[in-house]
Symmetry: C3
Subunit: 674 residues, 3 copies
């Protein structure tokens, strides 16, 4: 793997335009001293670069670029289009977003534009082009950063529901379906007299229309199509800027920063349009370390397995959680190294200096409001910078070799959470994580993949896991059958296989097209009240609890691995099954199991697949990256605050005593010195 960047980037968002020019050198000194070697600039530069439609003014950005270049830093250069200027909102009100409730944005916040607006697109393209034209030749520019966190309108969806979007949506639908008959059939419009008899009758899924909420719609096909359409509109915005840059710079990698399991965009489609994937990692107070690990793997998967950029994280508190706990000593280092362990080749912060105003002013920064090197935050960043300088460069370009794949399917994300019944209790990323965690606990490397991954790639995995894959797109079941028939192992479960590619139920019985493969018929899906559990007893003696839903399973060839306890009418029926299928096997997990239960499912599968499974103590994560030359980097991380002694990991001699948030890195068994 070629290294994407000339060095391990350590830096982040830098907005010196918020301070007087005469403070810059002081700040750069502080950052230099903290081993910062990169600045991401111009993220919100639009109004500064283009004070009115006719005028471009690069004076300030030139100065910023010069001052950063003088330090010998690299630059990630943003196009600056993430927040439109006030003059644009005033001159082009139709370029502003209309929300699901029909309210048009006036001016304020960010991501308040309509992605379909010809005016927004024209002006964003022009700005990107001007910026690229001016700075493409600069050697310090190592990466282009288009816009910023597309979709992040601050807790709300940034989908637009305006008349222009409606117009283009109709065209999009006409292209997709050709004839209204096809659309009516795909949308099942005979339900509640919803037949469309002219394209012009179609309106986006607004609350005054067919939407029940932002997530649910009477005609779910309308919502699924609108999500696809909006995904493409925003992706078009990205492409337009990217292509404008490419006219001036043929080689420097281009990215836009993603947001992990963000719902509104199918990031696999985005990843295909990027040279390098970057993302912003903001775990909350209650985020499990395994969830963060899954996000890293997902972002790496979106980038086809290549190393990715950790574009943003905070060196201390986020500001936008309800209660913002300070990061504990060592925690930022731990989070940074966890990213590297899962494939990151950069560690960047939002942000390098804490702003005085604006709603993010309480967000942590390398230079805090104290404006000095005295803060614990600065000192931890400085130590981390030194650490990365000594230990991270060698790792760059290495990849994560995985024999297990977990499917993350944005269509199933939308479809599952779009269901009205049988429960409100399911959040798609949490259900994927439920399965992922059992693998992570064993130190098993995981690739997060699309459901439409072709057979030849699937065959590279010893195990493919598809949690809550409610939508099975055309061809997917066939590919999975061929994969298993040829000796593969496949795990799926509750809610899988219910919908076809149009979000219509596959008739004949759940799990639809996965029925032959899994050898089960799910006769009913019982829903449990929040907090209620159902006993699950494994044939091998393990006991666990299921929850949220309980599939009532009638085996059609499959064997029971575990069965329901308790006193309900389906007591004694299978809760987990396995089906021999060709040369392989397929498991069906009927209920959302607790950790013990998931482990009881996954552990024997790993064993029979011969996948190395570690017996890691609680709180210890172990993972590997492998360089082109075969060097194996082993990462052992204490993801928590409780010290753990005597940790043993294959390929590492002796037992490791791991303090709070300790990070140990080994190259072919040899520890890398800090």
């Amino acid at each position: 793997m070629t290294r994407t960047f000339p060095r391990f980037l350590f830096g982040g968002d830098y907005n010196p335009e918020q301070w007087p020019r005469d403070t810059w050198e002081h700040d750069l000194d502080l950052l230099d001293a903290a081993h910062v070697n990169e600045a991401t600039v111009n993220v919100f530069g639009w109004s500064l670069l283009q004070p009115d439609e006719a005028t471009y003014d690069f004076t300030t950005l030139d100065a910023i670029m010069d001052s950063v270049a003088d330090r010998g830093w690299s630059v990630t250069l943003a196009t600056g289009t993430a927040a439109v200027p006030a003059w644009l909102a005033t001159a082009y009100p139709q370029a502003m977003r209309v929300d699901i409730d029909g309210r048009r944005q006036l001016f304020g916040g960010r991501h308040d534009f309509c992605p379909s607006s010809p005016d927004y697109r024209r002006l964003a393209q022009a700005l990107a082009s001007r910026v690229a034209e001016r700075y493409a030749h600069r050697p310090e520019v190592v990466c282009w950063h288009v816009n910023n966190e597309y979709g992040n309108a601050g807790g709300w969806s940034s989908y637009c529901f305006c008349d222009e979007c409606a117009r283009q949506f109709r065209t999009w639908l006409e292209r997709k379906y050709g004839m209204l008959e096809a659309l009516n059939e795909a949308w099942c419009t005979n339900f509640w007299s919803h037949t469309i008899t002219a394209w012009s009758q179609i309106i986006p899924p607004v609350l005054a229309g067919d939407a029940i909420s932002a997530d649910k719609c009477v005609i779910s096909g309308l919502q699924m199509d609108y999500r696809q359409f909006q995904n493409e509109q925003f992706l078009d915005c990205y492409r337009i800027e990217r292509d404008a840059i490419r006219e001036h710079d043929a080689t420097t990698p281009i990215t836009t920063n993603l947001m992990g399991t963000y719902k509104d965009f199918d990031y696999f489609a985005w990843g295909r349009e990027m040279d390098v994937v970057s993302w912003d990692n903001y775990p909350g107070m209650d985020t499990q370390p395994s969830f963060t690990a899954m996000c890293h793997d997902l972002m790496r998967g979106v980038g086809s397995g290549k190393p990715f950029m950790l574009m943003e994280q905070t060196p201390n508190q986020q500001n936008w959680f309800p209660y913002c706990k300070a990061k504990r000593p060592g925690e930022v280092g731990k989070l940074s190294w966890q990213a590297v362990a899962h494939g990151a080749d950069t560690v960047q912060f939002f942000q390098l200096k804490q702003s005085r105003g604006g709603c993010e002013r309480f967000h942590g920064a390398v230079i805090g409001h104290d404006d000095s090197d005295r803060s614990r935050t600065w000192r931890e960043v400085q130590a981390l910078g030194a650490d990365l300088e000594s230990r991270a460069a060698a790792i760059m370009g290495s990849t994560v070799p995985a024999k297990v794949a977990v499917i993350f399917d944005w269509s199933s994300f939308w479809s599952l959470e779009g269901c009205v019944g049988p429960t409100q209790g399911l959040r798609y990323p949490d259900e994927v994580h439920r399965f992922y965690r059992a693998l992570w606990r064993r130190g098993v490397a995981v690739d997060m993949i699309e459901s439409t991954t072709p057979l030849e790639r699937l065959r590279g995995y010893d195990l493919v896991v598809a949690p809550a894959l409610i939508m099975v797109k055309p061809g997917v079941a066939d590919t999975l059958e061929r994969y298993v028939r040829g000796g593969g192992r496949f795990v799926t479960g509750y809610m899988a296989g219910i919908h076809d590619g149009h979000d219509l139920v596959v008739e004949g019985g759940y799990p639809g097209e996965l029925r032959a493969l899994t050898g089960v018929w799910v006769e009913e899906i019982d829903a449990l009240a929040p907090g209620d559990g159902i006993d699950v007893r494994f044939a091998d003696g393990h006991a666990a609890q299921g929850g949220i839903v309980a599939s009532v399973i009638e085996p059609e060839g499959a064997q029971a691995v575990a069965s329901y306890g308790g006193s309900d009418f389906y007591v004694g029926t299978p809760a987990v099954t396995v089906n021999d299928f060709g040369q392989g096997r397929a498991w069906f997990v009927g209920t959302a199991l607790d950790e013990a239960g998931m482990q009881a499912v996954i552990d024997p599968i790993l064993a029979e697949a011969g996948i190395e499974a570690l017996d890691l103590p609680d709180g210890i994560e172990a993972s590997r990256r492998v360089a082109d030359d075969g060097t194996v980097f082993t990462f052992v991380i204490n993801v928590g605050e409780t010290p753990v002694d005597g940790v043993r990991v294959p390929g590492v001699d002796g037992a490791l005593d791991m303090g709070a948030f300790a990070v140990r890195v080994f190259a072919d068994g040899e520890e890398l010195a800090r």
Copy 2:
């Protein structure tokens, strides 16, 4: 009582238009095998029947009717107007509903029309007329079904607040009040300077107007009048369709399906316009069986005591609860028989076949997504069909003889929940149920009646109960006094008698016009925090807890039946009283008692009234219907899952062992064999 239908209808909503024609016979076979003998068709047929304003196309409905008739089934034929077609919404935007927040519906969902719209009314009438004209002669049509669940816009009110409604509301008010002076007085507009000096100044109770919420308004009289007005507008919509049918069919009964204790419509007014009342029974996870029983009795009462139709229930899960528990084995049978026991002469499902798309696709159906007769659901329906076939026909036309009446007053419903103070804790149906449950526990038959029930009908009851009757309309108190004076027994309590017919407080002291009758003055109404209770001690030694409100009572002739305990300032004052009044007696229950407390109130009254009160074990419901020929049908139902042995019921020999959801039916003491 003449039987309304030629046979005991067993079937339900059937929408084969959602599937290819070549699947229909397979489905009909499955339904036939399950003893289905009825189909409710065309409920959402509008867009299919009338693809544009100028075109009617009955091809598909003809085919459906033929295929069902071929099976020898009966048909409940809907007019298909419950969801307007997209073309109508596009062509007549003013025909669409405007919600309380001023947002006009575009197209989507259902019940998105304005009930005052001349265009909607004209087009709905035309469709109903065409359908009736075409199918009135068909012998399989045993019932006409107008629209569907008027008011059910999916969790929201379907009241409209548009300009056309405003215009007609002003006319309606002018007709009601004649002069603005009368309106101003009735609305107490001197409060907060609300005087109306021109009819044109009146606006509906929108949130940008006088409404505090959907339930509360600064001028409550405005809201009460708007509720009456909207009730009449929707009822007009029903009448228009009904009359259109009658032009083509002079005799077949016409109904529309109601929704139990649905708040927005005064169903007693609706019942008077229907040949047979039908309703949809959807108990939730936490609905008490006694509440369901009360709903059945209410629907029977709305239909003047005649047998009613159970138009909809689900054969398994509802889909629209947050967590949809599967119906337990036997549960659907229990629910069906409970309906019959309370007066139902049909058992119909929503729906016969589970849809592939649309937001109700996870709602249970006789034929599930498995499309087969293998499912537990199908098998239970089949068993129920056989059971009803053998046991239910004989019961048809029989009625429920009741010596106790409970008043359910929609005006008090609106008025009580419209109060701003003294508590948010009161839900009218729950308070009615609190009293009803104590009767139900004793197997006492109850008629649910209007507050304006005339004296001659009241005199047929040994006991009349009026929970939370906050609005006492003109003449009601006088009728009640004459009823009690003549030997009747009357129970009322907290919050009763406060308002006159204009929702104005009756001055002079609570309970207003009921003060002489009850012999108490309620000096204060203390409100308790949620979860707080107050001790209540009965003179006969029973102890109980009150809650929500505690009336501080000064007796004016009444005797204390129970008094408050605890340490509050009104400790020792009466919590429950009884007043001798003429030949009868009147009780006042000052606080919302727990089950033990309500039983301690009701049991002695039943005893002194000589009303048969059974000592039923927990979970057992007992009830009766009586045929014209005097045959007494006794129903004993285990409404729960816990088996109960040794149940003894008058008129039934020996002790009954009742398994989970067991249903036993006896005709003059002789058990009906399944």
Copy 3:
């Protein structure tokens, strides 16, 4: 101090226009018997006085005035402008308020007008002028009451966001900032590309604009300015009416009733415009008596220490709480005397007679719905009237001498609750109360003052406390430093000093301009989850719990008074500090301490300052007023229901046995007889 009124006013809102003329005398008899000597009339009289724009009709008000004057009562005469008539809303739709969501009010509720509307202002001014012209000569008019509870639109803010407000706001900003450059810098608009390049681009902080919620905004400076602007617009409305009155009456005091810690208006600015401050006291079920005491002190402070009017309280239940507990026997007396003890020279109720209609009909009144003198409420009012008649007159005009000042700063109120991070857990009034309570518990008199109180006034205090003073306006820190340097004592703490006058963070480290004074640098502010606490150990052995936030403090000259316990990374660091500064000392409280903790902070300070601190039992409040002639009135009040025996208070001989809600008043040690 001159007495503001000729007698101790005992009465309240009186709206006889809601009843027939022939009932008035009966009501006046009842009120007379209850010792009522004042009526507040015409509060919502607009539609009655001016039935259309061209017509004024004083017939009814004349009659009311006559009937009250006949009784020899005093009158507080309102201008009647608090709720606009329907005809005004119809004729001038632009005069109606537009809410933060862009919805224009139509008609209904109250406070539905736009404060910037020229039409509203013209018409309100005209009405005030007419009323004043007609009644100014009447001797019974002892007070003018402008409008009513400005801002109380019923749970919502009454700020307007209409185009007219936007227009005037731009002018206001132009006046304030002069140049756009200054505005851009003050608002930190380089954040998220918010640069304003034309005044016309500025829009109010609506939800479709820059607002995140009613309390938070992306550019907080925009919100702070809009709050100031709206505060001034409403204050203008008050001034316009006040000045209209003054043209007809040069001397009678003018007021408008305030609402304690109401957020939307800076009441110190309002107090400067009033002859006498009046306010409405409505403690809830859970309001602590010390919070009520603080509100009284705040209202007295707003009126520069002069006696104030208790314009409204309820003689029994409020109606608008979710659960309205009846006032316990003696409770209204206690609340009334608590007001007097803190400086009230009137005791007035909302209202004298309970209305039959409207959303406040369940609000308590002297004459209840029973319309008689039999109610407990009437009897308690009557007893209170007699009591005040005998004990209160002598106290009038006396003032509360305080050696301790607590700063209540509306800008910090808005700023603190406008922060996005580090916690949502802080409510400004609660944090002020946290400090206030520790003083109240010791019977220490407190003046509530502005942050900009000049040095000469500060020097009158032995101790100045500034909780959560997040915004330090220009000059404030300097004044505080000079105050302490000269020997003063100053207490502040968490969240203090962060923002400058533009709501921008003061760089260099928290607490900004208070850093030298307090001798600490707050390196980080950790946020605790709700319910979490942190141990705090005082050097003198006391133990306590902190919460919400924990400041991580690095002393810069200050000494630790208490330090953090527990196991967090800042264990052992100072939680509370004290800094010697010149002749005085400054304390910094790092975390929101529980009651024990606050007492452990405050008690030693009182001791070293030589401020008399009483050892009062729980539930006992003690306070003083001092007359011009030097008479000291001592008030001892049992603020709770639990009797407390043996209470000793300086200047009062012997021990007092205080029953529930008991009130004892002493003049120079001699008890005033009831």
